[in-house]
Symmetry: C2
Subunit: 173 residues, 2 copies
């Protein structure tokens, strides 16, 4: 494994010596050896996850949706009328973060909290018409720009094997 | 894919009805359908990564090392005498977070910042004797408790394929 792109990006441009001794000393950094780190599951998982999230955000720039917001919209669409505690728990999002996330979606008229008729202290979540339309566009962007790129990189069979192994880890590790 | 353990954990215990209507209404939540979400790479990556980090922290409880701290110790051991900017960049850790992380490692006498002789504004990182000893113990714990569990779950060949695919994503996506 070679050094990450983050390291490449942060290196100084050659020939930019006017900025002084500090830059000169760091102008030609040798690539660091990752050694055992490149075999640590947690490390490669985190690096891959950051890269995938970065790409997701770029693909979704026109709709301004984060991976977590997209997950919430997908889950509410698939499970209409469930309360916000259930949606947050299923996604593993902590309550304060989830409230902030919902405030954002609601302020953009993508989703609405409705007081439950069974339990007035509970709120069920529904997509608005605008939310449904945005989600349809988001799914297309994800499929054609984001997931398609993964298929190109790994191939369809490997992609499926990867998802299966990751799901197994998420559920059984 | 079934609902996550987070959701199971957050569900109310049956028979605990004394807490009132809210609990009663949420006592037997039906499992939510993940639908397309279970096929989203970003989602399964994040869930797997959280699970692996949780397990790492449990395995490392006696040494009180986080995944990021372990990565820094491994990288400094493999690349002695490199400066903190290079270590942080290679790991993709932002500067303020990295400074806090180093402060913690230094306060526990695991690593030391030494002013570079080439560039007095730069600090190189080295492991202390205690840091080397702790890292040796940490590697054993990771290998025997953490990575071994992954081998049991996936099998050696699948584990290697998984690391390879994740590295490819981290480097090329």
């Amino acid at each position: 494994m070679t050094v990450s792109k983050t390291a490449e990006k942060s290196s100084e441009k050659p020939g930019d010596a006017a900025k002084g001794r500090k830059d000169a000393a760091e102008a030609q950094p040798e690539v660091l050896q990752l050694g055992e780190l490149s075999e640590q599951l947690g490390y490669v998982l985190k690096r891959a996850q950051l890269k995938v999230f970065e790409n997701f955000l770029r693909c979704m720039a026109s709709l301004q949706l984060t991976p977590a917001q997209f997950s919430v919209l997908l889950l509410v669409e698939k499970n209409p009328g469930r309360n916000q505690t259930e949606i947050a728990s299923t996604l593993g999002i902590l309550r304060p973060n989830f409230v902030a996330l919902l405030d954002n979606l609601e302020s953009r008229d993508l989703c609405a909290r409705i007081r439950s008729t069974n339990n007035r202290r509970s709120h069920i979540l529904v997509l608005t018409d605008k939310g449904k339309a945005v989600l349809t566009r988001a799914k297309k962007l994800v499929a054609t720009k984001h997931e398609a790129r993964l298929n190109d990189l790994l191939g369809q069979a490997n992609r499926e094997a990867l998802i299966e192994m990751l799901s197994k880890i998420a559920n059984e590790f």
